[in-house]
Amino acid sequence: MEVKVYSTPTCPYCTMVKEYLSSKSISFQGIDVSLDKAAADEMIKVSGQMGVPTIVIGSEVIVGFDKEAINKALNL
């Protein structure tokens, strides 16, 4: 399943999400929305909001470091 993490470099929960996914050996695409305006717009379009981290797992959109939701979406 494709996993995307939209983040900013200064956002601690973004770091935590990425560390968490790595600790579970889940590979993901990290997208820095502070550098990439198009990616920021894409994130806003997909999630209807502008908070980071925004995690997209398949068709599931998760806002914030919600471990439970992430586990559920990944069947962990």
Partner: protein, 301 residues
Amino acid sequence: MLDLIIIGAGPAGITAAVYAARRNMSILVVTKDIGGQAAISGDVENYTGYQFITGPELAIKFQAHMSKYNIEIKENEEIIKIEKEGDLIRVTSDKGSYQAKTIIVASGKRSKKLNVPGEKEFKNRGLTYCATCDGPLFAQKEVAVIGGGNSSLDAAIQLMNIAKKVYIVNINSVVEGDAIMQEKLHGNDKVIILNNSQVEAVLGDKMVNGLRIKREGKQETLAVQGIFVEIGLIPNSEFAKILDRNEFGEIKINFHNQTNISGFFAAGDVTDVPEKQIIIACGEGSKACLSVFKYLATHKI
């Protein structure tokens, strides 16, 4: 029967848990998140041993330290109630109910809300409580920072390098933050300080597009796309109604981190200890745990 339940896993709760594990106490940590406010702090330059570390990095180190021990942690749980049950303590969360001989409340603080129309609807839709996290998304936009204290000025300083215009909306007649921070803002023509200004509503369609304020008695609308709420913190102590709390809602404790009820201890930012600092919260967490240890040794439960 558990010796101890620790509520919260910020600096105080984690330190208490490490001390408890090292004393072979049987414990359970029930918490909403790991790292607490440390995890969302910016740069930390006053934690002894680290000349410089970021809040998230320090929080990750705390967590790694705790995970060295075999400590049971219930994460993502909202505490609803703590109460005395005979000689024991009962903790009720939104997901379960737990019993132990003692408790340390180390639930910390959270951002204060504005309590105005639009705040809830536009959270993460232009309104945020974490400038550090979400600031970069507001490049070249007009934003408002609500508050006149240090955290508000800190947010404004971060944002003035990103946004097109930064309003500081301050309810008081002067900004109260540190002189050194005010200096950084002065002379920056992107920053506009609005004193005597009360927030009335957050406006928007799908996303924030304005902020209605009352400035010196007159209503105005600021055409902003971002709103950063930095009006201070409140203790997470609503579930601890049985404990004595001060006028701010902080749990009252003595030198030994004891509350007014036997077997109930508290530590860190949720308490009335003077000064809220990561290093103080850690110290308080360890002190609370050692008090619990002594308490258990002298009380047959």
